[in-house]
C-alpha cells in the first residue's frame, strides 16, 4: 500500500503571526489505523487537510512512499476523504453520489456498477441506491460518504470527525462499521476526532495533538496507561484523571494543610527521592477507576484512605460517579453500581497508589523511575529525558515505552 511521512510540517495562515501547526513530524506505517486526537482548535483537522492537499503546507515535506507530495493536486494523491458534514451531493441519488468520480473518469459502466454495488453491499446501502440524501438518516448519509470514498479505491482514507453529527447509538454502530471497513480494505486510515472513546476503540495508533504540537503518540494502551505528560494524562480517559499538588515527605504524599496523607509504595518513594523530589511539590494524578469504596481496598492500601463529603452522586446504571473536593480540587471516582451513597453523604475512599502517576509541576512531564519507564523522543536522548526536571519541554513528543 503506502507509507507516509510528515517532516517538520509547518502551517501559518496568511495574516497570522502564530503558526496553526508549528513543527509536525510523523511517520505512518502501511495499513495503519491512525487517529489524530486533540481538543478543538488543536490543529488536527489542519494536518489532515494538508495531507489531503486541501491546505497548502507553509514549510516542511509531506511524502508518500518517499515521494514529496506538497505540490501534488488532491485528485492525484491517491487519497479519499470522508467529511464531518458528509458533503454529499443533494441533487444526486446515492448511486450517483458514489459513482460520480468514476463516471467523470469515463470508467466503463459495468465497472462502475460493480464498484458501487460492492461498496453498497459492504455498507448495507443496497436498498437505498435510488434515494436522494435528503431521504436518508444521518447514519445512512455517513455510510454513503464512506461508500463514495471507498469506490475511489484510494491508498489512503482520511476521515475528518465523521461521527460527530450522529447520535450516541449510531456512533457506536458506525465505529464498528469503520473498523470493519479498515480490516476489509487494509489500507491506511487517518481519522480525526476529539472523542477519545472513538480513538481508543478504533486506533492502532493514537497521535495526541495540542496547539499543532504532538504531545504523544503510541498505542491506545500506551497513551492511557503511560501518559508522557499531564496534558496527555488529563485528556485520555473519561472522566479525566484527577490531579493534586502534594509534597513528597519520605514515603508520604502530604497536602499543605496536612489533612491529606497518602502512603506511596516503597519503590515509588525511592525513585521520587532519587530524582530529587524529597521535600518538594509534585503533581499527583490518579484515574477515577483507581479510587475505591470496597473494604477490601482499604485493607490492601491501609494508608491511602481519605474521608470525603460527596458533592454529587451520579448513578449511570453499570457504574456510579462520586464527585467530591480534595484540597479544594474537584475529584471524581468511578465506583461500582451497587454503591448506595447519596449526595451529601460522607464516604471513605481508598486510592490505589501503585496506579498513581506523577508529573513535574514545572515541566508537567511525567516523572518516571530511571531505566524503568522511559519515553522515546525524536529530539532527545534517553539521558536527556532522564534529566528533564526543571526544563520546559513544551510539545515534547513521547511514544514508545521500553
Amino acid at each position: 500500500m503506502v507509507e507516509m511521512s510528515l517532516e517538520h510540517i509547518r502551517k501559518i495562515y496568511p495574516g497570522q503571526v502564530v503558526a496553526a501547526v508549528p513543527d509536525y513530524s510523523l511517520q505512518i506505517k502501511d495499513g495503519e489505523f491512525t487517529v489524530f486526537i486533540g481538543p478543538s482548535g488543536s490543529g488536527k483537522s489542519t494536518v489532515l487537510r494538508m495531507i489531503a492537499g486541501l491546505e497548502d503546507i507553509t514549510s516542511g515535506e509531506f511524502k508518500m512512499d518517499g515521494k514529496v507530495m506538497n505540490d501534488v493536486e488532491p485528485k492525484n494523491r491517491g487519497i479519499a476523504m470522508v467529511f464531518q458534514n458528509y458533503a454529499l451531493y443533494p441533487h444526486m441519488t446515492v448511486f450517483d453520489n458514489m459513482a460520480f468520480g468514476l463516471k467523470l473518469r469515463k470508467e466503463p459502466k459495468d465497472k462502475i456498477k460493480a464498484a458501487v454495488d460492492k461498496a453498497a453491499d459492504l455498507l448495507g446501502l443496497t436498498d437505498f441506491l435510488d434515494r436522494k440524501p435528503a431521504n436518508l438518516s444521518g447514519g445512512q448519509r455517513q455510510r454513503v460518504a464512506l461508500g463514495r470514498a471507498m469506490v475511489r479505491d484510494a491508498k489512503v482514507m482520511l476521515l475528518d470527525e465523521p461521527l460527530s453529527n450522529l447520535d450516541a447509538k449510531l456512533r457506536v454502530e458506525m465505529r464498528s462499521t469503520i473498523a470493519k471497513l479498515h480490516q476489509e480494505l487494509g489500507n491506511n486510515f487517518i481519522y480525526v476526532t476529539h472523542d477519545q472513546i472513538e480513538a481508543m476503540t478504533m486506533a492502532d495508533r493514537i497521535v495526541l495533538i495540542d496547539h499543532g504540537v504532538i504531545q504523544q503518540d503510541g498505542s491506545p494502551e500506551d497513551l492511557y496507561n503511560h501518559p508522557g505528560n499531564k496534558f496527555v494524562a488529563g485528556f485520555m480517559g473519561s472522566p479525566s484523571m484527577n490531579f493534586l499538588n502534594l509534597t513528597v515527605s519520605g514515603t508520604q504524599l502530604v497536602s499543605k494543610d496536612k489533612k491529606i496523607q497518602l502512603t506511596m509504595p516503597k519503590g515509588t518513594a525511592h525513585f521520587l527521592k532519587e530524582r530529587g523530589y524529597e521535600g518538594k511539590e509534585i503533581i499527583f494524578g490518579i484515574r477515577p477507576e483507581d479510587i475505591h469504596t470496597e473494604p477490601i481496598a482499604k485493607d490492601t492500601y491501609p494508608g491511602d484512605t481519605v474521608k470525603v463529603r460527596l458533592d454529587l452522586v451520579e448513578p449511570l446504571g453499570a457504574e456510579t460517579m462520586y464527585y467530591f473536593q480534595l484540597d479544594s480540587q474537584q475529584f471524581v471516582a468511578r465506583v461500582g453500581a451497587r454503591e448506595i451513597s447519596q449526595t451529601g453523604d460522607e464516604a471513605e475512599l481508598t486510592f490505589e497508589m501503585p496506579n498513581a502517576h506523577f508529573f513535574d509541576p514545572e515541566t508537567e512531564l511525567v516523572v518516571v523511575p530511571d531505566g524503568e519507564t522511559v519515553y522515546k523522543s525524536p529530539t532527545k536522548t534517553e539521558s536527556d529525558l532522564a534529566n528533564t526536571k526543571g526544563t520546559k519541554l513544551e510539545g515534547q513528543k513521547f511514544s514508545k515505552r521500553y
Partner: protein
C-alpha cells in the same frame, strides 16, 4: 365587447416583440450573470474591481435611462457611428441590466454552498470546471430559484420599457389605440395580458421549485 375583439388582434401583433425581448434577455442574462458572479469571486483584484463597478453602475441607474443612453446617447456621442436597431438596442441593454442583478443573486448562491462540497469534489478527483458545472451550479440554482423567479416576473413587466425607444410591443400598440379611440380599454387589455404572463411565469417557477424540493 366588440371593441375589445376589434383591437385585440392588433395588440397581439406586438406579442412577438414583448415575448422575444423577454426570452432573449433571459437566455443572454442568465449565463452572463453566472460568469459575472464567478468573476466577482475571482483571485484577480482588477477583474473583481471592474465587475463590482459594472454591477454598481447597472444596479444604481434606472433601466429606462440605460435604454435611452444606449439608443439615443451612443449615436450622439459617436457621430452616428454606433447606431443600433431598436430591438438590438433593447436586447443588449436588457441583457446587460439583468445580468448585473442576476450576478449578485448567483454570487450569493455560490457563497452559500459549503466549502465541503468543493473539498469533496477535489479529493474525489474532479476538476474545478467539472466541480462547478456538475456539483456547485445545480445546488446554486436551487438556492437562487425564488430570487430568480422574482427577476423573471420583473423582466416580464420591464419589457414594457421598450416603449421609450418606440419599440412596437403590446404597450406601444395599445397606447396608439388609447389615444386614437380615447379609451382606457387598450390599457386594461395590456394589463390583463401582463397578468396572464406573470401568472404563467409564477406557475412555471413554482413547478421548478417543487421539482428541486425533493433534494432539500
Amino acid at each position: 365587447m366588440n371593441y375589445i375583439f376589434s383591437i385585440l388582434p392588433d395588440i397581439l401583433t406586438g406579442l412577438n416583440i414583448t415575448v422575444g425581448l423577454f426570452i432573449l434577455t433571459l437566455l443572454g442574462a442568465t449565463p452572463l450573470g453566472i460568469l459575472i458572479a464567478i468573476g466577482l469571486r475571482s483571485q484577480f483584484f482588477i477583474l473583481r474591481w471592474l465587475l463590482n463597478a459594472y454591477v454598481w453602475i447597472i444596479r444604481g441607474t434606472p433601466l429606462m435611462l440605460q435604454l435611452m443612453f444606449f439608443y439615443f446617447g451612443l449615436p450622439l456621442a459617436t457621430d452616428n457611428r454606433l447606431v443600433f436597431p431598436k430591438m438590438t438596442a433593447a436586447v443588449l441593454v436588457f441583457v446587460l441590466n439583468y445580468a448585473g442583478y442576476l450576478a449578485e443573486i448567483f454570487r450569493g448562491g455560490i457563497q452559500a454552498i459549503p466549502q465541503g462540497q468543493y473539498d469533496a469534489a477535489f479529493v474525489l478527483g474532479i476538476s474545478h470546471r467539472q466541480a462547478f458545472s456538475k456539483i456547485i451550479l445545480p445546488q446554486v440554482f436551487k438556492i437562487v430559484l425564488p430570487s430568480f423567479g422574482n427577476e423573471v416576473i420583473n423582466l416580464i413587466k420591464d419589457t414594457s420599457l421598450g416603449y421609450v425607444i418606440s419599440l412596437v410591443d403590446i404597450l406601444y400598440i395599445a397606447q396608439g389605440h388609447a389615444v386614437a379611440d380615447v379609451s382606457l380599454m387598450p390599457y386594461v387589455i395590456v394589463a390583463v395580458l401582463y397578468l396572464i404572463f406573470t401568472a404563467l411565469a409564477t406557475v412555471i417557477m413554482k413547478k421548478i421549485e417543487s421539482n428541486y424540493r425533493e433534494w432539500a
